[in-house]
């Protein structure tokens, strides 16, 4: 008996030593990614994953990436983030607005782990935020829509009434009205980032109500497929969806996270990482437009001109005068909406049908 228990102790000591050796031998940095949808959504999450693959390509053996997909916003996300933090990940990217509070909560318990939260607005010492100025792309899309639409009605398939989505709707309409003051937008809220069936149904309903341009802030190609089927035009979301709608897609707003992810992961490895709040757009290459298709040459030229103007800073999508739905002037002529108004946008501009859900 004594020898048996002695041998058991020796075995325990050796296994602990062996395991800790395994831990020490891996000098590579672990990088975690938390996705709200499946990589296969061919939209939002897909582009984040493309970014992750770019990091792997650029930094090779220095890092090892982990990703968890289809993580619902809410308590489940906190569990996933905590698990990544407690298994040695040094940098964690949480890629959806709804991960904001869980990220901050976990960050407090793990001060040595660096967190980057996409599209959020709260930072802390080890939580940085990053977002892309998608509204720049929306404005360009609106300009195209204003020229292409015959019924002057735009159908918008939206997800949740958060400022980012409202900003997109407003920017789209402002762009459309800059070339055609008669344009209107109807919005349907599907209350989900990703539900192809429902998104398709919403698009069908909007087209049946007279919209001949479909835009979306949801993550699947379903609305565009419906647009293709019904012979109207639309815009892809977060990635180029031309192969789902070869005759319908006018352009798409493509998210490009590659450079940002490589840059930030490098900073985390060499120790220069600091919490920041970054909001990049066309100029920095975080937002790209998919090739302009299915439109006449002069519309294409106008779109390119608008893109250049925004890129160079000559044109700001939210430059005054801007009126809200009640007719009140919220941005005066000659002025530009400030970051505060953009980030907390909770009103519709004139021309959007219906009122904003609380």
């Amino acid at each position: 008996m004594r020898i048996k228990s002695f041998l058991r102790e020796i075995l325990a000591v050796f296994s602990i030593a062996a395991l800790s050796c395994v831990g020490v031998a891996n000098a590579e940095t672990k990088v975690g990614f938390v996705y709200v949808g499946p990589i296969g959504d061919h939209g939002w999450t897909y582009r984040h994953n493309v970014g992750r693959l770019a990091v792997e390509k650029a930094l090779g053996t220095q890092i090892k990436t982990t990703f968890v997909e289809s993580v619902k916003e809410g308590p489940d996300s906190e569990r996933v983030i905590r698990q990544l933090a407690s298994t040695g990940h040094k940098v964690i990217y949480t890629t959806s607005f709804g991960f904001m509070n869980p990220t901050l909560k976990v960050a407090k318990k793990f001060p040595n782990v660096r967190f980057e939260h996409a599209t959020g607005y709260k930072q802390s010492k080890n939580v940085g935020t990053y977002s892309a100025r998608f509204y720049e792309g929306r404005y360009i899309a609106g300009v195209i829509a204003g020229k292409v639409s015959k019924t002057n009605k735009i159908g918008y398939v939206a997800s949740f009434p958060i400022p980012e989505v409202v900003r997109g709707i407003n920017a789209f309409l402002l762009g459309a009205r800059s070339v055609n003051p008669e344009m209107t937008i109807s919005v349907v809220w599907v209350n989900s980032w990703y539900d192809p069936g429902k998104e398709g149904d919403a698009a069908k309903a909007l087209i049946d109500q007279g919209a001949d341009i479909i835009s979306q802030h949801t993550d699947s190609p379903a609305p565009l497929q419906v647009a293709e089927n019904r012979g109207v035009k639309g815009f892809g979301q977060a990635s180029d969806m031309i192969k789902f709608a070869p005759k319908a897609q006018l352009s798409a707003i493509v998210n490009n996270w590659d450079n940002y992810y490589v840059e930030r992961t490098k900073a985390a490895i060499d120790g220069s990482w600091k919490s920041q709040d970054v909001w990049y757009g066309l100029k920095e290459g975080m937002v790209k437009m998919a090739p302009y298709t299915n439109m006449s040459d002069d519309v294409q030229a106008l779109a390119k001109k608008t893109e250049e103007a925004i890129r160079s800073g000559a044109l700001h999508p939210f430059s005054g005068p801007i009126k809200d739905q009640t007719g009140k002037i919220v941005v005066e002529a000659g002025k530009v909406a400030d970051a505060g108004m953009l980030l907390g946008m909770n009103f519709y501009v004139e021309g959007v049908q219906g009122s904003l859900p609380k």
Binding site: P38, V188, V190, Q209, Q353
Partner: protein, 305 residues
């Protein structure tokens, strides 16, 4: 506003529900409670999509989808009818299995686009104004859903084999005593249920949104299950329930599009709420329900030695 396109959209939205509910009706009438509808639909969806992408033939894709539903139902049948496992637990396990397996197989098919199934305009019938489009301007699976629910209704109430199936569902011991093979009837019923669920799934991935997305049924299998109970196991009521649910789902989107100011979360809830309200009305007549519910549903049949 043009009502016809809306009506067409409602019909297409209700079709997967109707197809799956028809199959589940037969299964439950035979006394087997198969909760795995969602899983079977998803496997049917990915199988049909994979077949369509690989072969380019709509017919093969539909058949592959339907028969994969049969294959999954066969697993359930063996486990519950031969191995005498608990039906509820096995059905739930089947759903989870279906969700996972379809996601695994489907990961190779993400991002692929497909031409939707062509509409079959039957001869000159579809040129009849309004009714023509409504009844005759659809694709083949929608027609199948019309035909199948009518056939199943007729089968269950007017034919001898339907009577035997119902007898097995009401009291499997009596049916066994009378000499009917309870196991054969139940196997066939379960496999038919799998066939229809597979068809429903194929409809989703081939016609409704011709792409593959993880979990693309989004709970429709559960709705189909609820519809069978909602319709008190009668074919006509199930069809009504399916179209009611589809109609409210589509109309709530239209209401939002018109700019009418009702909370969108409430609108999302509306189809389910309507189903519950109608169920309350139906339940007020307890006799009607008791007559229709198969008494042996969910009970394991222990063949007496």
């Amino acid at each position: 506003m043009d009502l016809l396109p809306v009506a067409l959209t409602i019909i297409t939205a209700s079709t997967p529900l109707l197809l799956a509910a028809t199959g589940e009706l037969v299964t439950e009438k035979a006394g087997v409670l198969n909760l795995g509808v969602e899983g079977m639909m998803l496997i049917g969806a990915i199988a049909a999509f994979a077949a369509a992408v690989s072969t380019g033939s709509g017919l093969i894709a539909i058949l592959v989808g339907a028969f994969s539903g049969v294959a999954v139902a066969a697993i359930f049948a063996v486990l519950t009818l031969t191995c005498l496992a608990n039906q509820v637990a096995t059905g739930l396990a089947l759903t989870i299995f279906g969700v996972g397996l379809s996601a695994l197989v489907g990961s190779n098919f993400v991002g692929i686009s497909l031409e939707p199934l062509p509409q079959l305009n039957i001869g000159g019938l579809s040129t009849i104004p309004i009714l023509g489009d409504l009844l005759f301007g659809h694709d083949v699976l929608v027609y199948l859903s019309f035909i199948m629910i009518l056939l199943v209704g007729y089968f269950l109430s007017k034919t001898r084999s339907g009577l035997i199936l119902r007898a097995v569902g009401e009291s499997h011991d009596s049916a066994h005593a009378l000499g009917y093979s309870v196991l054969t009837v139940r196997y066939l019923a379960v496999l038919f249920g799998g066939f229809m669920s597979g068809l429903a799934g194929s409809y989703l991935s081939l016609v409704y949104t011709p792409l593959w997305a993880e979990n693309m049924t989004a709970g429709r299998g559960w709705i189909a299950l609820a519809l069978v109970v909602f319709g008190t196991w009668r074919a006509g009521r199930i069809a009504f329930g399916a179209y009611l649910f589809g109609a409210i789902t589509i109309l709530q989107l239209h209401v939002q599009g018109w700019g009418i100011n009702i909370a969108s979360q409430f609108m999302t809830m509306l189809p389910y709420l309507a189903t519950v309200i109608v169920l309350v009305f139906i339940s007020s007549d307890k006799m009607k329900i008791r007559i229709n519910a198969p008494q042996s549903i969910g009970k394991v049949f222990y063949p007496p030695r």
